[in-house]
Symmetry: C2
Subunit: 422 residues, 2 copies
């Protein structure tokens, strides 16, 4: 069978099975997730054996230590997945929520109700925990899951899916709602991206290249996730202590993730006072600096080494302890800079001026604006969603962290007594 047929068959099987989800109660899905969590813990050693095969193969083909770390499962990481599943199980049921309701003049009763998408594909890279995290979020939101992980995690993913399906055998949910898409060739990704009408949505998670490929290729609806060139703008009316603490936390706390900051913009009115504090603080944390001309001369006076900034730096997501620093003359100029180089993820302003904050909010075009808070708060857990299937970097459907609710669509239920249009 060619890849298109493989994916079509999996999708069709999944869609039929998904009826056991769309007609289930929230309590049924909750039970299913608890069953998955229990089974994961019970089968922990089986999972670790499969994982050690992937690790061995990974070492043999020379995967980087970073990739190997992502691939690795430990007893702690497995119980982390089980805890995650139980947390999702305890969230409010996202289905059959009446979003809007009205009675029309002709007596028709109109309700807009949340329902599952149906069949959702995930295309992701090394981390095998995505296999479980995604499956439980999709199941809880009533969707069948087509999981296309990395070939480097093939053995682990196969066992994780087998364990989850086994757990579903004891529930009213069909095990066929979880399908593993073979990762032995690239063609299955392509087939998934073109299974229009069979797959309702594909979500990519992984590198910028993977996401770009999915967005470029897919004819199935997709949600772009990921890239974050986030800015911290320190306003003329900033509290400096807050500014330093937010700056350092945004850059340093976990530089590899998308909500870490890449660029510091400082209002010219306070540059002279604030920059020495900021540059020293960044230096202390070992941050490599790329500075515009004025900032470079300040750094030079302080004896802090920095490199001149190039156009490309401003739009680079370093993911490491590197940072761009520039001076701007106003909130508007900060926004101009961000509009030019940002990715619409998270932008922070540090200011005590309500007017400046309002102006920054109004002119920003991004998933999240932070006023006097770290950029690192753009996160489903932190925002209290209880779970996150990714951070949407697009404006259609969902923007920012996506929880259970983002995995639903709606249907209009119109109830009448024989009404017709005149």
């Amino acid at each position: 069978m060619d890849a298109d047929s493989v994916v079509a068959t999996l999708a069709t099987t999944a869609r039929v099975a998904a009826r056991t989800l769309s007609s289930s109660l929230g309590s049924d899905r909750k039970m299913a997730l608890f069953s998955i969590a229990d089974e994961m813990e019970k089968q922990s050693s089986l999972i670790l054996i499969a994982n050690s095969k992937d690790m061995e193969r990974g070492r043999a083909v020379g995967l980087s230590p970073q990739l190997l770390d992502r691939l690795l499962l430990t007893p702690e990481r497995i119980s982390g997945m089980a805890v995650g599943a139980r947390n999702v199980a305890n969230l409010p049921d996202p289905l059959r929520v009446i979003v809007r309701e009205s009675v029309l003049p002709n007596g028709l009763h109109l309700r807009q109700m949340t329902v599952p998408f149906g069949v959702v594909g995930m295309v992701y890279e090394a981390r095998p925990n995505v296999t479980v995290d995604a499956a439980v979020i999709l199941l809880m939101s009533g969707n069948a899951a087509l999981l296309r992980g990395s070939s480097s995690a093939a053995s682990t993913n196969a066992v994780l899916v087998a364990v989850m399906r086994e757990a579903l055998e004891r529930t009213v949910i069909s095990p066929e709602v979880i399908q593993l898409v073979p990762s032995d060739n690239r063609e299955t990704v392509n087939a998934l991206l073109h299974a229009r009408g069979k797959v309702d949505l594909v979500i990519p998670r992984g590198s910028a290249e993977l996401i770009q490929m999915v967005v470029d290729e897919a004819t199935v609806p997709t949600i772009e996730t990921g890239a974050g060139v986030c800015h911290v703008y320190v306003d003329e009316f900033a509290d400096f202590a807050k500014a330093i603490s937010i700056l350092i936390n945004s850059k340093v706390q976990r530089p590899s993730v998308c909500n870490a900051a890449e660029t510091l913009l400082v209002n010219s009115a306070i540059a002279e006072k604030f920059l020495p504090m900021a540059l020293n603080a960044l230096k202390e944390e070992g941050v490599v600096l790329h500075c515009d001309e004025k900032v470079q001369s300040v750094a030079h006076e302080l004896g802090i080494s920095s490199s001149p900034i190039g156009e490309a730096n401003w739009s680079t997501e370093y993911g490491t302890l590197e940072m761009n620093v520039g001076i701007v003359d106003s909130v508007e100029k900060a926004i101009d800079h961000i509009a030019k180089y940002g990715t619409g993820h998270t932008e922070a302003i540090v200011t005590e001026s309500q007017a400046a904050a309002e102006r920054f909010i109004t002119l920003s075009d991004c998933a999240a604006v932070m006023v006097n808070a770290s950029t690192r708060f753009t996160d489903g857990e932190q925002m209290g969603f209880g779970a996150e299937i990714g951070i949407s970097n697009q404006k259609l459907h969902a923007r920012g962290p996506m929880g259970l609710e983002a995995m639903t669509t709606t249907t209009w239920i119109v109830t009448g007594t024989g009404q017709i249009r005149s």
Copy 2:
């Protein structure tokens, strides 16, 4: 300049101008729409002259009477557009609505707020009223509009856009928020569909071919609109009088539109009694029948001519007075049929059984379910939205009729007092 550069320039100009929208008050946008409505009426004769040029050219190239009718503007149609603009102006402001709000344990104040997309492209066919209808909905929802109409309506569209821009000169909204994309070559459509990062969303309106092309080609996010193979299922527990009235209204009242019904499915338990009534009623309205074998034999006994149904008929959107008729054994079998041949637009059930209605709702996978009501009610005006930019036939972002709200996205506003992540 090549088409890509033309579109890029228009999009960039529009995005800068869109700041006058995103920072405007609802009352500013309301004024702008009133100004547009007034100017349309004032410049009515200028618009009619331009339209007569398009009509002349249309006749010369042999456009069908149907297309010519769509192209035609009359004083009544122009005031219809003006009235439409005033209606939209009077709708509640869809921007800066707080959709969700919470205070997190760490004191962060979280708000999810509606904001405009930014720059929205429309690709549409003959009807010049879309130029105005779309522009006013987009403006009211804070978006700049890139309008790519049909070359057959080029003169009319040029004047309509000029009139709207002139009207904006008297307001705080920049006239540059409305941009006409040249329709003198197909390349501009292509450029619009690939202007990723420059255009936030493209909405196609028109034929199934146009919509399919946009969905297949676009790398910019799009919303699929349109195709409707809608079903009326008459259940075992149907009230026959309601069923006949809903059937005829769904099929006959305006067969050319997407929410008209194409297929009647009758429960086998009532087929013997109900079918003669239904077939006679459809015959009286001049509906051409395509019937499954059992229905054909009933029709034959009644002396009503019908043709045998082919597989392709079941999935055809006739748009004319033709209808498929089949027998199914249960709600589940009706849903199986609909899942196989439907387009997920609107499905109706006629039944007095609450259980059957609930089952039909739960298993349906479509934008709107009608319980004892005509399929023709899937419509923004009818549902009380006050305006409609199209009917979404996809599950992502918006499903069913799209009003002002569907033309917004959201942003998270997180306000703190210096919070950082630990």
